[in-house]
């Protein structure tokens, strides 16, 4: 018996590069896995606080919440904080070392995002395309943190009414962007390693049974079937940019939008920012903050001209950016992962599915 198992393990080792085997772990044995992860990473996971679900530090397996749809704010803030200091300087004009911009040490630690949803992990892949679009000059602030981050995804078994991941090249069990995909079978998890980083963590775990793997596949299908509303993109993708831009429906779609920044700040793929210098006495810093294309000043030129001075222009731009301009510039990658946060949080209940479906005609 022992010998046979050894043989199996050896043959697996030789096939390691081709097959990454699914593993199984009982939830009440998670402490061991968490300890292994904690040796290298600070672990964060969604936790319910009142009616919100927020990313919280995890110190023990009991901290893990299994009964949630998704976090209110997306995890993009881990890699792209809302306020981030990029450069610092001594605000002393007459000093020899004054007014010289220096980058602070990139000393952010390694983080593991445990139970991140597949849509949010895919969003990180999309943001990789944006922040690292120039291999010679990637966004170092993003890249540094991205490389130090481990993503263990929790597949969705119960998508909520605003989710539509299946319409945007994503899904409740979608693997893209993850190091490990976990599928929840009530008292145990099937773990699919997807990268060498992920696989290394699971070496001590038992292989999942055929039954469990099939059960997980069944849950995936059930979850996909639960997704209530979707959106269609065929005509938007086939049409020219100008045709979509000049669609008559924008006139009726934009009117209720109050141009706040809620949708953009909650969106896991939105990435615009504004850079400013701030000084306080002899300390100076160059800081970037999340910005929103919904803001009237977003495209204001120093000349005073504003190409998107009207609400309709800004509203239209948001959707065109995600569904037309980004795929055009990023080899087909959509700027939306179907998480539904914008719809849920919008103060006037603008539904991205309704907007896109109306323009798709």
């Amino acid at each position: 018996m022992f010998t046979a198992r050894m043989t199996l393990k050896n043959s697996c080792l030789s096939k390691r590069k081709l097959i990454m085997l699914e593993k199984i772990i009982f939830k009440n044995n998670l402490e061991m896995l968490l300890n292994k992860i904690s040796r290298e990473y600070e672990v964060y996971a969604p936790a319910r606080v009142g009616i919100e679900t927020v990313w919280s530090l995890v110190t023990k397996a009991d901290d893990l919440e299994w009964n949630f749809t998704n976090t209110d704010l997306s995890p993009k803030g881990f890699l792209f904080p809302q306020t981030e200091c990029m450069l610092e300087f001594k605000n002393i004009p007459r000093s020899a070392d004054g007014m010289i911009l220096k980058r602070p040490e990139l000393k952010e630690g390694s983080k593991a995002l445990f139970n991140i949803r597949p849509c949010d992990a895919k969003a990180f892949s999309v943001l990789d395309l944006v922040f690292e679009q120039d291999p010679q000059k990637p966004d170092v602030y993003w890249k540094d943190k991205r490389e130090k981050t481990l993503l263990l995804g929790l597949a969705c078994n119960h998508p909520c009414p605003a989710c539509f991941c299946t319409s945007v090249e994503c899904g409740p069990h979608h693997p893209q962007g993850l190091d490990i995909l976990m599928q929840d079978l009530e008292d145990r998890l099937v773990l699919k390693p997807l990268t060498p980083k992920g696989e290394n963590l699971l070496t001590d775990l038992d292989q999942a049974s055929e039954q469990d793997i099939n059960l997980a596949a069944k849950l995936e299908k059930q979850a996909k079937d639960m997704i209530q509303g979707g959106l269609g993109l065929e005509n938007i993708q086939a049409g020219s940019i100008l045709d979509i831009y000049e669609h008559s429906a924008w006139e009726r779609l934009y009117e209720s939008c109050i141009n706040c920044g809620t949708c953009t700040f909650y969106c896991p793929t939105c990435h615009c920012f504004d850079i400013q210098d701030e000084t306080r006495g002899t300390y100076g810093r160059r800081v970037r903050n999340w910005d929103t294309c919904m803001s009237p000043h977003f495209t204001l030129h120093t000349s005073g001209h504003n190409p998107r001075g009207r609400r309709i222009d800004r509203f239209r731009q948001r959707f065109m950016h995600k569904f037309k301009y980004m795929p055009f510039k990023l080899n087909g990658a959509l700027g939306c992962v179907g998480c539904g946060r914008c719809t849920q949080k919008c103060p006037v209940n603008i539904d991205v599915r309704e907007v896109v479906n109306t323009i798709n005609i």
């Binding site: 319910r48 009142g50 009616i51 919100e52 009964n67 949630f68 749809t69 209110d72 704010l73 809302q82 306020t83 119960h158 909520c160 009414p161 605003a162 509303g229 009726r252 009117e255 209720s256 109050i258 141009n259 706040c260 920044g261 809620t262 700040f265 909650y266 504004d274 400013q276 701030e278 800081v287 903050n289 999340w290 929103t292 803001s295 009237p296 000043h297 719809t343 849920q344 949080k345 103060p347 006037v348 209940n349 603008i350 539904d351 599915r353 309704e354």
Partner: protein
């Protein structure tokens, strides 16, 4: 409720058919449970979508600003007060609008409904007479509407429209039943350290999305102070000092004009209770100046007018 909805649609349809207005602003059913969307009907057929419910939390007066064409608007108590305020401030021309006034039943705060069902996915919410029927995977719950009303609706004193061209339904209860002076300004009796702690705690989650400002009918400046750069009054970061500056300054810009409609708190995606600031200011204005905004289209708010006999006892001597 259904009768009121029929009346709203009939009146709106008639106004458009007769060409009296270019557009009727109201609400339509939302795309997810417990939400409605602002609706703009430009033709009689489009009035078929109009609705009215306990989830109508957006203040539609906001959409009157900048409209040139004659417009009709569905408006309950607080909204009509804001309309009166906008008329007084010359942002809306009285002769350009047709107000379909309606008594407010007090709006529901969807977050309070969610907090009664922690961790549950809500698939459907039906409004019945005194309660809500909430349905989700494997459950159905009845929740009393009076337990989940929006904070400001409990202490409202003006549920009936104060100005209107046509009344939908009948005038009803004027007040929400609560005592506004018992709940407004909750930090009044605390010492400075405790007040500061409460203030920090209230605004710690603010992400500067400006949903509060953008939902507010009082905020119509072409250039908001937070967007000015010469000088820059307020930093753009989410550092505490910048967040605090924004909220305090906005509250004061609304002083003497705020009707406590609650649209700000309803709009906030983080559920921040910024009325803890404005309710104090509203109370002070009411007690010190004997003024409640929006009840008179002629009377100017106290902070925009100087009178030699203005009360001064609260000033340091």
């Amino acid at each position: 409720m259904l009768e009121l909805i029929e009346q709203i649609r009939d009146n709106a349809r008639q106004l458009l058919e007769e060409g009296k207005v270019h557009c009727v602003i109201g609400y339509r059913q939302g795309s997810i449970p417990m939400r409605v969307q602002p609706h703009f009907a430009y033709s009689p057929e489009e009035t078929d979508k109009m609705t009215w419910s306990c989830f109508c939390t957006q203040n539609l007066a906001k959409y009157l600003i900048g409209r040139e064409e004659p417009t009709a608007i569905l408006a309950q108590g607080c909204v009509t007060r804001n309309i009166a305020g906008l008329i007084q401030e010359n942002q809306v021309k009285r002769e350009n609008i047709y107000i379909l006034g309606i008594n407010s039943p007090g709006m529901v705060d969807y977050r309070k409904v969610q907090s009664k069902l922690p961790g549950r996915v809500i698939h459907e919410v039906l409004e019945e007479n005194g309660h809500l029927l909430v349905r989700g995977p494997g459950y159905e719950e009845k929740i009393l509407k009076r337990d989940v009303k929006r904070d400001n609706c409990y202490t409202c004193n003006h549920r009936n429209p104060v100005i209107y061209d046509q009344l939908i339904g009948e005038k009803g209860e004027e007040t929400g039943g609560g005592n506004i002076d018992k709940v407004a300004a909750p930090w009044e009796n605390l010492g400075p350290d405790q007040r500061w702690a409460k203030f920090q705690d209230t605004f710690k989650d603010c992400i500067r999305c400006y949903a509060c400002r953008d939902a507010c009918p009082l905020c119509y400046c072409k250039e908001c102070f937070v967007d000015e750069s010469k000088p820059q009054w307020c930093g753009k970061t989410v550092d505490e000092s910048d967040v605090h500056t924004f909220h305090i300054l906005r509250a004061f810009h609304c002083a003497g004009r705020c009707t406590d409609c609650g649209a700000c708190e309803s709009a906030c995606p983080m559920g921040i209770k910024m009325r803890r600031l404005t309710s104090k200011i509203e109370k002070d204005i009411r007690q010190m100046f004997g003024f409640s905004p929006g009840l008179d289209t002629q009377e100017s708010p106290p902070l925009s007018v100087y009178r030699p006999d203005d009360p001064e006892e609260f000033m340091l001597k």
